[in-house]
């Protein structure tokens, strides 16, 4: 009963690139990114709790080009992880395993996540004047 010399299952280097593979990797990557984002979210909330000066500092940080880059990255990550998470829940329920369905739901996740991110950008900048 040795466990050292067992054959390994085929790994990333073996397979041709597929959209499903990318989506799976991106689900995990956006999940980790969002975990980091929650820390920033708590910083923002605690800054609001500390008073106007601390809050102004936080707003300035998030308003900088790097802060904006992070915020919109997290926004897309949230919508992507949310949509693909619902796709995962459908799989858990036993639905959508046919190859054709997997591709249709996959491209739908991309489209809906992009649309929601665009809608968020519009809500933030399209309605309230200059940032």
């Amino acid at each position: 009963m040795t466990t050292d010399n067992r054959p390994r299952s085929p790994h990333l280097g073996i397979y041709r690139w597929q959209i499903t593979m990318t989506m799976s990797i991106l689900h995990r990557a956006t999940g980790v990114a969002l975990a980091v984002g929650t820390l920033a979210l708590v910083y923002w909330l605690v800054a609001a709790g500390m008073g106007p000066d601390a809050y102004a500092d936080a707003q300035m940080l998030f308003g900088s080009w790097f802060g904006q880059f992070l915020l919109w990255g997290w926004t897309f990550s949230l919508f992507y992880h949310l949509c693909n998470g619902i796709r995962h829940l459908a799989w858990d329920a036993g639905w959508g395993f046919e190859i054709k369905t997997v591709y249709i739901t996959g491209y739908t996740v991309w489209a809906v996540a992009a649309l929601l991110t665009a809608a968020a950008l519009w809500m933030a900048y399209g309605t309230g004047g200059a940032a």
């Binding site: 929650t38 605690v46 709790g49 809050y55 933030a124």
Partner: protein, 126 residues
Amino acid sequence: MSLRNPLAIARGLGSAKSGTGHWWAQRVSAIALIPLSLWFAVSVLGLVHADYVVVINWLHAPWTAVLLSLFLFTIFYHAYLGVQVVVEDYVHTEWLKIATLLVIKFICILFAAAGVFTALRIAFGA
């Protein structure tokens, strides 16, 4: 030659953990986060141009305090469950894996507590 059956060695080495409970908790928190994260995203997008007083007023509303506390608790719970699997997949040195998981768990609890405490403190009138 040993007459011991290989099964005797295998026993005790297999999974004796709590995979199903973890899997289920991840799904339940995921389902809870669908409405909670959408509520949060829409609320915060409405605050992008708001000044301090407007943000504090938003945090004063009872529903904000309740939903924000639930959102923070659930998202940190879900985040820990997810990151735990990532660590377990890539960190193979036992002590380093356990240490990493503990650090991440404590960070999650610390930030969740700080967030929920702040949300309630503002709601109760600080």
